[in-house]
Assembly symmetry: C2
């Protein structure tokens, strides 16, 4: 497509990289969750306008988890100001590891307020059942190190950083550190030295929301 040039005022435009899966009807959901429905009730060819209806849980495709997902009395998505959903991005390349422990942070530059993205390579399995069955896991020690460094959010190309009883979820969400799950295309950031993450979800009064996570470079 040919978009108009971005020549106007405001900060200079950045190169943007999309880190989000497309949300489609019937895409695989987390085991136990119902399959999402995105159904055309009307189409422009038949009725003169297109109108889809969405019927879905909120942990499908690329999404963000808020504290109330796991933490009693925790915040909902709509409780957060926009500043919670954008920040300096950091990429951690942990491809080839099935367990992501604290040692992977050795030498990593990580400042308070950063949004850390974990590249495991697992997103290549997205769309099949194997994606949810067997995936790399984040340790509690790793999560505690992120919490100590006061990062703003953790994103990953995984359906979850952990399994039942979800100690990593509890630890991070308990400190209002948001979780971005089911990212993709993180390999595109490997050659990039500095970027920001924009990941503003629709303001659902809920424990999670589908979201378009974007990296802005330069």
């Amino acid at each position: 497509m040919s978009l108009p040039a971005d020549t106007g005022s405001g900060s200079s435009p950045a190169r943007l990289v999309c880190l989000s899966h497309v949300f489609t009807d019937g895409m695989p959901a987390f085991p136990g969750d119902p399959s999402p429905q995105l159904t055309p009730l009307a189409t422009v060819e038949r009725e003169g306008y297109t109108a889809y209806r969405m019927h879905s849980g909120l942990h499908v495709g690329t999404h963000v988890d808020a504290p109330i997902h796991m933490v009693p009395g925790g915040k909902y998505i709509d409780d957060f100001p926009p500043e919670a959903f954008t920040g300096p991005g950091r990429l951690l390349d942990v491809r080839g590891r099935s367990v992501i422990d604290e040692d992977t942070l050795a030498g990593a530059v990580l400042e308070p307020g950063d949004i850390l993205l974990l590249l495991t390579g697992h997103s290549r399995l997205f769309g099949g059942e194997a994606y949810y069955r067997d995936h790399p896991l984040v340790t509690e020690r790793f999560a505690r190190a992120l919490s100590d460094r006061r990062i703003k959010a953790l994103g990953m190309d995984l359906p979850s950083p952990d399994r039942y009883p979800f100690e990593v979820h509890h630890l991070l969400l308990g400190r209002d550190i948001l979780l971005f799950e089911n990212l993709t295309n993180l390999e595109a950031l490997l050659p990039v030295s500095a970027f920001r993450v924009h990941a503003f979800p629709p303001r659902l009064h809920a424990e999670a929301a589908p979201v378009n996570v974007v990296a802005a470079i330069g």
Copy 2:
């Protein structure tokens, strides 16, 4: 809440202004559309985790319309690259007008690629039935002027720029100019000289999507 400082690399942080309504269970929808449902299937107090299910049309609350909503063969939300959803913002103060015609653009600075936001003041009625019943309307001439100036998107604190047969929708969406509807808090931009708009919707394969529209200042 106390967020960690944003001290890291990347572009310097901007002041952010949220222009989006909260999406709540049962909030009023466009006349004829079913009322949206955002229902807790599990709560952290009872089941140990919170999980809402969403059942809704996609023109509820703050949302974006893609061409396929009205244009045969038009693009879906997920067909657009992230660049389509961010750009230099312009505010047009049209409070007090019931008809927004081409003359309101006299003297307005508007460049190709800009995202134009219409402040009508109508968002004060959001949440009640009157919001949808009687609202300011945009003329076809106004829409054609925006198309001629090759703006990227038009946002407004209205449920729609027009009524059946939706000629403004057809005209703008026919040129891939996106429509952001049901914005709020645009008054906060009145004293601002330059800002960018970020409005990345979840990548639904659909004709519209709920979205968090944010202005980044400075």
